[in-house]
C-alpha cells in the first residue's frame, strides 16, 4: 500500500515517465512469457530464409543465419532483465554492504573507503574490460563485472547517506536503549534508505544495459550465441547497408528501455527525501 | 503625498490552480526620514509585502492581485520590467535576514558593491572602488581599503550585514527596506547594526521600512508601526500613540509575550493557539480563534478598519476593550 502511494506520487503529472514505466512492464512481461510470445525458436537457423525483410511471418525480418529477429528480440528482453537485475543485486549487495558498514564502523570504514577510492581511479569501462580479461565470456561473468564496477559508486553513495542518518536522533535513541550495532544498521538505518536505494537501482539498471551492450559490441560480453540486443547489433553490424532493419530494431529497443529506466529513476528521485537527492548518481 | 504609498495591496499565492490570498487590503505610507516598523509573526505576510514593494516576486508563485504601490510619484505596478529594474538597488534598496548567505560567495565584496553602483551610475571601476571604500568606512568596517578585497566567507555575520547595508546605500536610495536585518545576528551585534541604520538615516534622510517579529526592536527604532496578522494590518499608529494605548488584542498579546529586563515578571504570557494556515477557511475576524474576548460578531463578520484615536487605526470590533 505504501509502495503504491509512493509510485502514485512519483508519477503524478509525468506522462513521459508513466509511459516509460508501462514500457518496462511490457519488457518484464516479454521476459517472463518469452516462449509464449516468440513465434519461432530464437536459435533456429534457416539458411534459405536469410536476411528476409520485415513482413509476415518474420515481423522484424531475419538475420544472416535466417533466425527470426522478432523472436530473438523477445528473448533479448529476457537477457535485459537478467543482466539489469543481476547487476543491480551485485552492486547493491557488495557496494551497499561496504558503504553502510564503513559509515558505521569508522575505523574499518576508513580502510575500506580508501580501497573504494583506489578502485574508483579505474574508469568504469576500463575496469570492466580488465575484469573481463580475467574471466570467461558468460552471462554470470558479465553480470559480475558490471555489478562490481557499479559497486564502487554505490559504496560511496551509501557511505554518505548512512553517515547522514547516523547523526539522527532516532539512532541515538536506539543506541541509548541498548540496541546492538548490527540491529541499528539493518533494522533502523536501512529501512530509511530503501527509497533512495530504489532510485539508485533504477539508474544502475539503465547504465548496466549500456555497458552490457558495449561489451557485447566489443566481443567481450555475453557469449555470441546468447540472444541479447547487444549481441544482435554486434553480429549484424556488417550487414548494416544490406539489411538496415537488423540494426534498427535491437537499437531502438535498447534506447527505449534505457530511456524508460532513466525516466523512472528521475521521477522517483524527485519524490524521495530531499536530503539524499544529491547523493544519487544518475542522469 | 508621501514617498511610498501602499494602498489596498492584495497578494495571493497560486497553489494547485487556486489563488490563496496571503496579503489583504494592506495600506500604509512612509515618508523621507521616517521609519515604518512592520511587526508580526512569521507567515503574516510582512516579508511578501516587502518583496512586492521591491519588485522581487517575479519568478515565484506569488502574484499581486490588487491595490497600488506608489513610489516617488510613480505607480510601480504599471511600470515596465526595465523601468522597475532602474529603481531597484538605486532609489529603493533592500537588505535581508540572512547575512551569511545573501552575498555571492565567489566574488569579492568590493566587486559586489561595485556591480550595484555601476548598474545605475556612470562611473569607472576605479571611481566606484573609491566609493566602495568610502561606504565601507561609513558602515564602520575596519580597514576598509583592505576589506574591499575580502571574500564574504572571510567576514563575520555582523560584518556581512554591514556590507549589505553599504551595498544598499551605495546609490543613495530614498527608501531602504530591511527585512529582519538583525534576526540572524548575535544580540550585541544587533544593537550595533540598528544604531548604524538609525545613524545613517539622520545623515542621509532615507526612509526605512523595518520588518521584524520583535516588537522591542520596532519600538526602539520606528516612528510608525503597522502590526500585521494573517495578511492584514491589525493595528497601525505612530509608535508613541500605539504603546500609549493598545487597541488590538493581538498587539497586546505580542507585548505580553515579550521579556522585559527590569521588571519582576515571573512568567511570560504566550498568545494561545497559532496563526491559522492559508488553507483553513476562516469566517469573521482572523484573530478570533486566539482571542479571549471574541464574541458572536467576531466569528461572523470581518472587522472594518476604524479610527481608534487620531492617526491610530485598528481592525477590531471592540478596539481597546480588551482585558489588560
Amino acid at each position: 500500500m505504501n509502495a503504491m502511494n509512493f509510485l502514485q506520487a512519483a508519477f503524478a503529472g509525468r506522462r513521459l515517465a508513466t509511459l516509460g514505466f508501462l514500457w518496462l512492464v511490457m519488457i518484464a512481461v516479454a521476459a517472463i512469457a518469452a516462449p509464449l510470445i516468440a513465434p519461432f525458436d530464437p536459435l533456429e537457423i534457416d539458411p534459405v530464409g536469410r536476411l528476409a525483410k520485415p513482413g509476415w511471418p518474420n515481423l522484424f525480418g531475419t538475420d544472416h543465419f535466417g533466425r527470426d529477429t522478432f523472436s530473438r528480440a523477445v528473448y533479448g528482453a529476457r537477457m535485459t532483465v537478467i543482466i539489469g537485475t543481476g547487476s543491480v543485486v551485485v552492486a547493491l549487495l557488495a557496494g551497499g554492504l561496504i558503504g553502510m558498514v564503513s559509515a558505521y564502523f569508522t575505523k574499518l570504514g576508513h580502510f575500506l573507503m580508501r580501497g573504494v577510492d583506489v578502485l574508483m581511479a579505474f574508469p568504469a569501462l576500463l575496469m570492466a574490460l580488465v575484469l573481463i580479461t580475467l574471466l570467461e565470456r558468460s552471462v554470470f561473468n558479465t553480470i559480475l563485472v558490471i555489478g562490481i564496477v557499479y559497486a564502487t559508486t554505490t559504496a560511496r553513495i551509501l557511505f554518505g547517506m548512512t553517515l547522514k542518518l547516523k547523526g539522527e536522533v532516532f539512532v541515538d535513541a536506539a543506541v541509548c536503549s541498548g540496541v546492538g550495532n548490527l540491529s541499528i544498521l539493518f533494522r533502523h538505518i536501512l529501512p530509511n534508505l530503501v527509497s533512495p536505494l530504489l532510485v539508485q537501482a533504477s539508474f544502475i539498471f539503465a547504465f548496466a544495459q549500456l555497458q552490457a551492450a558495449a561489451l557485447d559490441f566489443l566481443g567481450l560480453g555475453l557469449p555470441p550465441e546468447v540472444p541479447s540486443w547487444g549481441n544482435m547489433l554486434s553480429e549484424e553490424r556488417i550487414y548494416v547497408t544490406r539489411a538496415p532493419w537488423l540494426l534498427i530494431y535491437p537499437g531502438i529497443l535498447i534506447v527505449l528501455s534505457v530511456f524508460s529506466m532513466n525516466l523512472v529513476g528521475d521521477a522517483l528521485r524527485d519524490s524521495i527525501d530531499p536530503r539524499f537527492k544529491d547523493d544519487i548518481s544518475g542522469v | 503625498m508621501a514617498l511610498l504609498e501602499v494602498q489596498n495591496l492584495e497578494i495571493a499565492v497560486s497553489a494547485k490552480g487556486k489563488l490563496l490570498p496571503v496579503v489583504q487590503s494592506v495600506s500604509f505610507s512612509v515618508d523621507d526620514n521616517e521609519t515604518l516598523g512592520i511587526v508580526g509573526e512569521s507567515g503574516c505576510g510582512k516579508s511578501l509585502t516587502a518583496l512586492a514593494i521591491m519588485g522581487l516576486l517575479g519568478g515565484t508563485t506569488v502574484r499581486i492581485t490588487g491595490g497600488s504601490i506608489r513610489f516617488d510619484g510613480m505607480d510601480l505596478l504599471t511600470l515596465s520590467e526595465r523601468e522597475r529594474r532602474s529603481i531597484m538597488g538605486n532609489q529603493m534598496a533592500m537588505i535581508f535576514q540572512e547575512p551569511m548567505t545573501s552575498l555571492n560567495p565567489v566574488y569579492r565584496i568590493g566587486d559586489q558593491i561595485i556591480e550595484n553602483i555601476r548598474q545605475h551610475q556612470k562611473m569607472t571601476k576605479a571611481q566606484a572602488r573609491d566609493r566602495v571604500v568610502e561606504l565601507l568606512s561609513l558602515v564602520r568596517i575596519p580597514n576598509p581599503s583592505e576589506r574591499v578585497d575580502s571574500f564574504p566567507h572571510q567576514m563575520s555575520g555582523g560584518q556581512r550585514q554591514r556590507v549589505m547595508i553599504a551595498m544598499a546605500l551605495s546609490c543613495d536610495p530614498k527608501l531602504l527596506i530591511a527585512d529582519e536585518p538583525t534576526t540572524a545576528l548575535d544580540v550585541t551585534v544587533q544593537k550595533e547594526v540598528l544604531d548604524l541604520m538609525a545613524d545613517l538615516q539622520t545623515r542621509m534622510g532615507t526612509a526605512i521600512i523595518l520588518i521584524s517579529h520583535d516588537l522591542g526592536v520596532i519600538s526602539e527604532t520606528s516612528n510608525k508601526v503597522a502590526v500585521m496578522y494573517r495578511g492584514r494590518v491589525a493595528e497601525a499608529a505612530e509608535t508613541e500613540s500605539l504603546f500609549l494605548e493598545l487597541a488590538h488584542p493581538y498587539t497586546r498579546g505580542l507585548l505580553n509575550s515579550m521579556p522585559v529586563v527590569d521588571s519582576d515578571v515571573d512568567w511570560l504570557e504566550a498568545i494561545p493557539g497559532r496563526v491559522p494556515t492559508l488553507e483553513e477557511e476562516l469566517t469573521g475576524c482572523a484573530f478570533h480563534p486566539r482571542c479571549a474576548s471574541a464574541t458572536e460578531l467576531c466569528l461572523t463578520t470581518v472587522p472594518k478598519e476604524t479610527e481608534f484615536k487620531h492617526g491610530h487605526s485598528v481592525q477590531c470590533h471592540f478596539p481597546g476593550k480588551v482585558a489588560p
Binding site: L126, V255 | N90, M164
Partner: protein, 315 residues
Amino acid sequence: MLAYTAKRLLTLIPTLLAASILVFLFVHLIPGDPAAILLGDTATPEEVAQLSSEMGFDHPLYIQYFIWLSNVLKGDLGTSIFFGEPVLSVIGSGAETSILLASMTMIWIILIGLPIGILSATKHGTWIDQMTSSGAMLAASIPTFWLGLYLIMIFSVTLGWFPSSGFPSLSDHGGITNLRYLLLPSLTLAAPNTALIIRLVRASMLDVSREDHVRTARAKGLHPTRVAIKHIFRNALIAVAAAFGFTFAALISEAVVTETVFSLPGIGRLVVQSILRRDYPVIQGVILVIVVLYMVINLAVDLAYARLDPRVSLK
C-alpha cells in the same frame, strides 16, 4: 596555492601506489606462469626462464613488485607480444589519436552542453526546458556504437561528406584537415556526455537560483540574463567544472567503443585488440597509463576548483 598543490600531490601518492599494486597483480591473477603469459604462446622455454629471472618471478611477490615498479619508473613497461616493441612506444603511437579525439569531444561538450544547459535552466518549467532535458536524457540512453554506426551510414556511406574510418596523423599528408576524420567519432562520443553535462548544468543552476545571494543580485536591478550568467551560472560552474575533469579523464577509456566503431588507431582500440590478442604486457601498460592520467586530470580539476571557489583555498 603552491602549498595546496603540494598537499594535494602528496595525498595522490598513496592512491597511486595502491592502484599500481592492483595493476601489477593483474598479470598474476591470470592462471599460469606469469613469464609465459607475458611472452605469449610462441616463446621458447629459454626465453621464459630468462624473463622469469629478469623480473624476479622466482622471488616473493613484494620483491617482484619493486622490480616491476622500478622498471616502470624508468619507463620500461615491458615488451608487446604482438608487436615485439616496447609497450610504451606502442601506447605512444595511439596517444595522438586519443588525445585529439578527447579534446575535440570536450569542445563539443562545452559548445553544445553549456548553452543548452543554461537555456534549460533559465526556461525552467516551460516546454523548452521539458524538451531539452528529456532530449538530453534520451541522448544519454543511446548506445554510442549504435549512434556511430548510423552516423557512418548517413554521413559517410549515403552522403559521402566525411570519411567513415581511420585517422592519418596530423603530420601526414593533409595536415590539419585530417581532423575531419575525427568529426563523426567526436560527435558520437560527445552525445551521451553532452547530455550528462546539460542535465548537470540545469540541476546545478536550479540549485543555485534558490540561494539567497541570487535574490540580492536581482535586488540590484540587474538584467535577468546578467543574473543568470554572472551569478547563477558562475556559481553552478563550480560543480560543473568538477564534472568536466571527470568527463575528460573518462573519455580516454570511453573512447574504447568509439575508436572500435570508426577503426581509429587510438589507445582505446589498442586495449580491445590487445585483450582479444591476449597481449598482456600492453593491457597492463595501458591500464597503468590511463589510471595515472585519470588521477592527474582529477588533481588538475581539484586545483581548478580551488580557483573557482574562493572558499576552498583556505582549507
